[in-house]
Amino acid sequence: MLISRRLLPAVFLAAASTLAAVPGDAKDWSHVRVGVEGAFPPWNMIGSDGKLAGFDIDLSQDLCRRAGVECELIAGEWTSLIPSLNAGKFDLVLTLGINEARKKVVDFTIPYASGVATFIIAKNGAVPAMPMTGERINLNDKAVADPVMAEIGKLIKGKTIGVVQSTSQEQLIRAYFGDAVEIRTYKSSPERDLDIRAGRIDAGFDSGVYATSTLDKPGNEDLAMTGPLMKGAMLATEVALGMRKGETELKAVFDKAIREAAVDGTIRKLSVKWSKIDLTPTLPPAE
């Protein structure tokens, strides 16, 4: 709906006094607008034909069908997605990593994907292959995880590890191996990978989805993933849909849909298709 330009000045004046009024009544959720970046492969991307594709796109179609709502996917710039959500341009935002800062401005569904973090090494580099390569490990399960991490600590002792600055992956390396290794931080993952290939550092530590989608590209044949696919501890790996605060009805509908898609294997199937890793989240107990 558009208000004619002639009316705009009057509209602005009248609005000054009513800015506080926020609609709060029950809404009709038959049509839901979903914001997505469209430039973050393999989660979401736009092809040369202008069409959205990726894990997020396939999964959100499935979730909307389960929820019985008609979803309209709208691509927007990443930094404007949360402001647009709160200004009412969208009702949901895809690919939001759950963290404390965002919890203050938006509500989250239960996670629809649970990422992992893993090591990247040069195939003929100084760090040997690590145990449990490609297997999942939950660092909160200390009985299983701690011996494995201790073994990895021995393999990388005295080596230099590259991580992207102010990520939870950096926090993890500092917490577990901070005394044993030298840590170098980078602005972005590709910069770090250049240094691995050049032999300036011995290994990198990054998200599993980044690792698989990068190693897939030509020119990266000399790199390899190694060690377990980790989650838990301080790693921020849970990815959810975001919505405006207080939209409990919408949250309930999509929480249920995500739960069903996780249980019947849809999330596993789609995530393996797009990222080669099973990203099925560990579901929180039902309320």
Binding site: M1, L2, I3, R5, V11, F12, A14, A15, T18, L19, A20, A21, V22, P23, D25, K27, E37, G38, A39, F40, P41, M45, I46, G47, S48, G50, I74, A75, G76, E77, T79, S80, P83, S84, A87, G88, K89, D216, K217, P218, G219
Partner: protein
């Protein structure tokens, strides 16, 4: 997804982004063009207020040009896009209409650019009017032209002659400003390049193509501006 060569990537084949990038360039022209025209209309009003308006009209126009030329354009776009939506929604709520109403991205962007460039237009037109010699207007009045006729036959063509170089600058300003409209989700040239760069992980190819397209547009419009200047300066010796 294999790495493809530059020509194939920017071409018109099945893998090519050529059509998308050209469409983005057209969208840039559309946003910039409508913003520029809206700005010209606002600028005419503003210049009239500054030259012939009463004290109230003059100080309003002064306030407008001072504020709009003094704050970042991105901020104005945010105000229209996010702020406009909130304001419209709360008004609709007053009239019992629930939910959100908002300006579409294109309208918010063009409106914001128009309002900002209107301030620049105002100053360009005012300066150009001041450059018109008093004698020409007096002569027109002396032969009995009405005010409208005098404006149409004497003032407008002369003002345009003096304003054109300034308008050319404003146009280039507006064209580059239009890149900021990408924050509203309008897929113009810069946003299209960002999408392509992110989706194919070949940023250099996309940004260099976008730069080339911008250069094409500015070169072409610069040439048109020079032709227009020559047309409106017939009979004048070029300094």
């Amino acid at each position: 997804m294999n790495q493809v060569g530059f020509l194939e990537l920017m071409g018109f084949g099945p893998q090519g982004w050529g059509p998308s990038m050209l469409f983005g360039a057209l969208m840039t022209l559309a946003v910039a063009g409508s913003g520029f025209l809206l700005g010209a209309a606002i600028g005419t009003l503003g210049a009239w207020a500054k030259i012939a308006g009463g004290r109230v009209a003059r100080s309003l126009a002064d306030l407008y040009t001072t504020v709009l030329r003094g704050i970042p354009d991105l901020l104005v776009i945010y105000l229209f896009y996010f702020g406009g939506g909130m304001v419209l929604s709360s008004i609709a709520h007053l009239f019992g209409e629930g939910g959100f109403i908002s300006l579409p991205g294109f309208a918010a962007g063009a409106l914001a650019i128009g309002v900002v460039s209107g301030a620049h237009h105002t100053e360009v037109f005012r300066g150009a009017f001041r450059a018109v010699s008093r004698g020409e207007i007096e002569a027109a009045r002396a032969v009995g032209m009405s005010r409208m006729l005098c404006f149409r036959r004497i003032i407008a063509p002369l003002v345009l002659r003096y304003a054109l170089p300034g308008l050319g600058n404003v146009w280039q300003l507006v064209l580059k400003e239009s890149a900021l409209v990408s924050v509203t989700g309008v897929v113009e040239l810069v946003r299209e390049a960002q999408i392509g760069a992110g989706s194919t992980r070949q940023p250099f190819d996309f940004f260099i193509s976008a730069a080339a397209l911008y250069l094409c547009i500015t070169t072409l419009s610069g040439w048109m501006m020079r032709r227009a200047e020559r047309h409106f300066s017939r009979g004048m010796a070029r300094a």
